[in-house]
């Protein structure tokens, strides 16, 4: 299976077989990501990081992934100091950077910007998050975490928090549906999973449950994927406080959980997982952040064709 020169724009562009191949590659590279082995796979390659929006984890983990494989990183720097402020459009920026680098990682505030960039680029584009729609490398790392810490096939998973606007949960649902899954969506009524997504999942024979309480379902799931509920989604601050407390993972809540339950979170968390949970065997979110490195290493190496 060759990924050479392939763009990574949306999870929907990948079949289950291709996703498995990326995850297998990430697993092989994990010792390099941990610094236990050295690799020169990307020796002589230049990776451009074009971040038009602030990002800490995504940007850093791409830098680390490139450097662990011996690649060089070219940073756009801040948008204010670049030609973008002179009015250059993204299409031209991409055409220019294509001549400097072997691959471009792009984060941009507009929806669909990575898809457009791929039309103008002569090198592979990896979407590091465009607008509110796609963030495929996050989904790859979520899948990798689930595979490493639990299992993908027929998973019983609950996703909780802001399911209406959360792009990571939308993309993860779609990807997990390729493996068959029982999904429980836990959210306040205002932030429920969009009905068209639920319909799509049901069409693919995915069992879907919806509830507003973690307590009711915590004993019956293998993975709990928490997301942040943003205060600004609620016009009434009192309502926000109520919702926030109903969707909080605490030591108490976990008493009735399956001993093998794993809790994931794309981070940053605010207060939806209390710190006492961090030291339990359920907490997986910091591991998950680390798994971003081998996953992104795999995508870099595959897209540049140094692993086939």
């Amino acid at each position: 299976m060759s990924f050479k020169n392939r763009h990574v724009i949306s999870m929907k562009d990948f079949s289950r077989k291709e996703i498995d191949y990326v995850l297998d590659t990430a697993e092989k590279l994990e010792p390099v990501a941990r610094g236990q082995e050295r690799s020169r796979l990307l020796d002589g390659k230049i990776i451009a990081l074009l971040f038009f929006e602030p990002s800490t984890r995504t940007r850093l983990s791409f830098e680390v992934a490139a450097q662990r494989l011996g690649g060089q990183v070219l940073n756009l720097g801040s948008v204010e100091a670049s030609s973008v402020m002179k009015g250059e459009n993204l299409a031209d920026t991409i055409r220019v950077i294509s001549n400097y680098a072997d691959l471009i990682v792009l984060r941009h505030p507009l929806d669909g910007s990575a898809r457009m960039a791929a039309e103008f680029a002569s090198v592979p584009i990896i979407n590091g998050g465009d607008g509110s729609v796609h963030h495929p490398t996050q989904t790859f790392l979520d899948l990798y975490t689930i595979r490493r810490e639990s299992h993908l096939e027929g998973l019983k998973i609950a996703m909780a928090g802001d399911l209406k606007y959360g792009r990571t949960v939308h993309s993860l649902c779609h990807a997990l549906s390729l493996y068959g899954a029982e999904m429980t969506f836990v959210s306040p009524p205002e932030l429920r999973m969009p009905p068209e997504i639920v319909r799509d999942l049901q069409k693919n024979e995915i069992v879907v449950r919806e509830t507003d309480s973690l307590e009711k379902i915590i004993g019956d799931v293998e993975v709990l994927y928490m997301t942040r509920v943003q205060r600004e989604r609620f016009p009434d601050p009192e309502e926000y406080e109520k919702v926030k407390n109903r969707l909080k993972v605490t030591g108490d809540l976990l008493r009735t959980a399956d001993p093998n339950l794993k809790i994931l979170h794309p981070l940053p968390r605010v207060n939806e997982i209390s710190p006492e949970v961090d030291s339990t065997s359920h907490a997986c979110y910091f591991q998950q952040a680390f798994y971003g490195v081998p996953t992104r290493m795999a995508l870099l190496a595959l897209a540049m064709g140094v692993i086939e």
Binding site: L90, L110, E119, G131
Partner: protein, 156 residues
Amino acid sequence: MKEKRNLKIQAIENGTVIDHIKAGQALNVLRILGISSAFRATISFVMNAPSARGKKDVVKIEGKELSVEELNRIALISPKATINIIRDFEVVQKNNVVLPSYVEGVVRCTNSNCISNSSEPIKSKFSVLQSEEEGVSLHCLYCEHVISENIAENLL
């Protein structure tokens, strides 16, 4: 009665007659075909004309046969329209419009944050799907936003 109707819109010698357009959509049909004031051919149209199947609009374009690809875009806003190619006052070809599977630069994405609504040098691109429950829907190839209502209001 017959004479009165003839006054409303005359038969054409050569060109294209688009019939059975959903009532009220004639102006949008012109828009979707890219027909503006710069278009030189004679255009006539009737809106809300009585017909056996209720009211309809009709558009006649004289001296010009439009391409199938152009005409099929009409299916986005009026799926039951028919196309008649006229030569020497005779209908030489009559077809229903066929929904295209892809349209470019015809409709604006209703997601205001979509890259196709920015100043980038690209045209909007949609794949077109039709289902019995939901009718015609357009899926933006950039941002994956779905437009299933008010397509006519979002013509470029």
